[in-house]
Amino acid sequence: MILKSIRLRNFRAHENSEIQFDDRANLLVGPNGAGKTNILEAIYMMCLSRSFLTSSDRYVLRKDAPHFEIEGVFESEKRVPIKVRVAFVPGEGKKIFVGGAPLDRFSELVGRFPVVIFSPEDQQLTSDGPEVRRRFLDNIISQTSSVYLDHLLRYGKALKQRNELLQISRKRRTAPDPMLPESWTEELIRHGSHLILARHKFVTDFSNHLESAYQKIGTVVERPSLSYDPFSDTSLQQLDLIKSDQSGADIVWSIDRIQDLFRIEIARKAASERDRGITLVGPHRDDLEMSLGLLPVRRFASQGQHRTFGMSMKLAQYEYLKERNSEKPILLLDDVFDNLDPMRIGAFLDILGSNAIGQSITTAARKEIVHDHLNGMSCHTIEVCSGGHVQPSLLEIALEL
């Protein structure tokens, strides 16, 4: 997928900006606060219906403006142009149009315009709490499977309802009707087990991509790995799964089996759920364990290893989406080069220049950071001045080797 052009009206720093993009590498340069990241934010919103920085549309509205609007023209690999328009009016909410037709549900948008963003926040992937990693999982699997997204949205609703029910019964200190909690538990399990199975499959498929991505950026040969254990050992033992694992037989993950485990686990935590009034079992509490060699990244990795791991995850995300989509994702890179050592910048630009990557849009405070490492690769440079004014750079760089 290629983004040919974008137009922003009253979007953050941009009053009225129009930008044309090249089909390959693009570089947005300009001082801090000029609105470079805002452009990536708008592109991301056209692809996935929401910002990667804030959950509220009100905050991206330019100060005192009555509404904001993003209009973009995409082009598929088959050269078919598709117009996407996002419009937001406070009080009336956001509307998204694809090819002129309004979307009934924003979830219809997800996956049509695959996108991957690298940003300074990627470090949180390895250093912060499990929520960041669940978001990563959900983002990438949703972009490849609308079935997953459907289960995810329904799971979220069922979870809210079940928590409310737990809260109510805690306040009343009674649970007069045992059938009612069971009904919500079943609904939770119905959707949650699909999420668990999809996440399990994802981690298995993703590991190869992660390993090869890590080798491309990293210099040391530690092996990165991911593991995903949605259930406690206790419940696994109850189903004799651990025994079968020790005998060498592969554990076959199936919906039925996950549902059984889910039920065991919920039954085990029933008392604490009643006490605390929240759902304590399920994919909303999942985590993804990341390791280098045998050591967990979160506790043992150095700053450099954290950074490399985070970038590898994103690069692997790109490869994973590319493999599963008919379209190459659009790659957005926000400020990633400013704090990177020259060797990693070089390695990364090599990847951007190779045919493996389609269109990329990068932001940097100074163009030298990128230009000094271009090695003959051409890069469409766009200057963003303060106040969001945009102009193509007078100097189109195409350095010879």
């Binding site: 459907d150 309802q161 059938m179 009612l180």
Partner: protein
């Protein structure tokens, strides 16, 4: 912008309370009412009042009706062995429009939703169990027949799913067949343009031919 008349403005306020009506549409409706002859406005007002004065709930199926029991429950031509459970009266109308169902109905009045403060006791679930159990407490002229099938025609939402599960658990001990409406591809649409989530559900609920 405001109307120069407070009376008109208060009519706009009333219209704007209706579901799906924004302020703009409310103004347009108010302007339309202004232009109507008085007799027609009176008719409209009468219809509104009558809804509250004359309409009652059927004591058997809890659908809205002018006469209790409702024409469907009172009809001897309908098959009283099959009960179709729906959330709202509008759903009865939707199924009636198909002319493909000859059983009777049971209107729950919503779906189980803790967030909206709706529990099973707020819905007509106990009454449904009474019906299938043959112990209808209401004073009715419904012929005493044994229920053979309960069709759950609730919405395919998280709340509808849960309500369906809840009811099915209560009804199945009576040895009555409990079914749920099929979910999947809408008639007249192309397989190619059906979204994956719907298609997956259709695959799961496939039938042999």
């Amino acid at each position: 912008m405001q109307f120069t008349s407070e009376t008109v403005e208060s009519l706009v306020d009333q219209f704007a309370r209706l579901p799906g009506i924004g302020r703009k549409t409310a103004r347009r409706l108010a302007a339309f009412v202004l232009k109507l002859p008085k007799s027609e406005v009176e008719q409209m007002a009468k219809a509104l009042i009558a809804v509250k004065e004359k309409v009652v709930f059927c004591s058997v199926c809890f659908n809205v009706t002018d006469h209790d029991p409702c024409p469907i429950c009172a009809s001897s031509k309908r098959n009283h062995e099959i009960i179709c459970v729906v959330e709202e009266p509008n759903d009865v109308m939707a199924i009636e429009r198909t002319h493909g169902f000859n059983g009777v109905y049971h209107v729950l009045g919503g779906a189980i939703s803790p967030l909206d403060g709706i529990g099973p006791e707020d819905l007509r679930i106990r009454e449904l169990i009474g019906r299938v159990n043959g112990k209808s407490g209401a004073v009715t002229s419904e012929p005493m027949v044994k229920t053979k099938e309960v069709i759950l025609a609730v919405n395919p939402s998280v709340e509808g799913d849960t309500t369906a599960y809840y009811i099915s658990q209560l009804v199945s001990p009576f040895g009555i067949k409990v079914t749920r409406l099929a979910q999947g591809i809408s008639v007249g649409s192309d397989l190619e343009f059906t979204d994956e989530a719907t298609l997956t559900r259709a695959l799961e609920a496939r039938v042999s031919v």
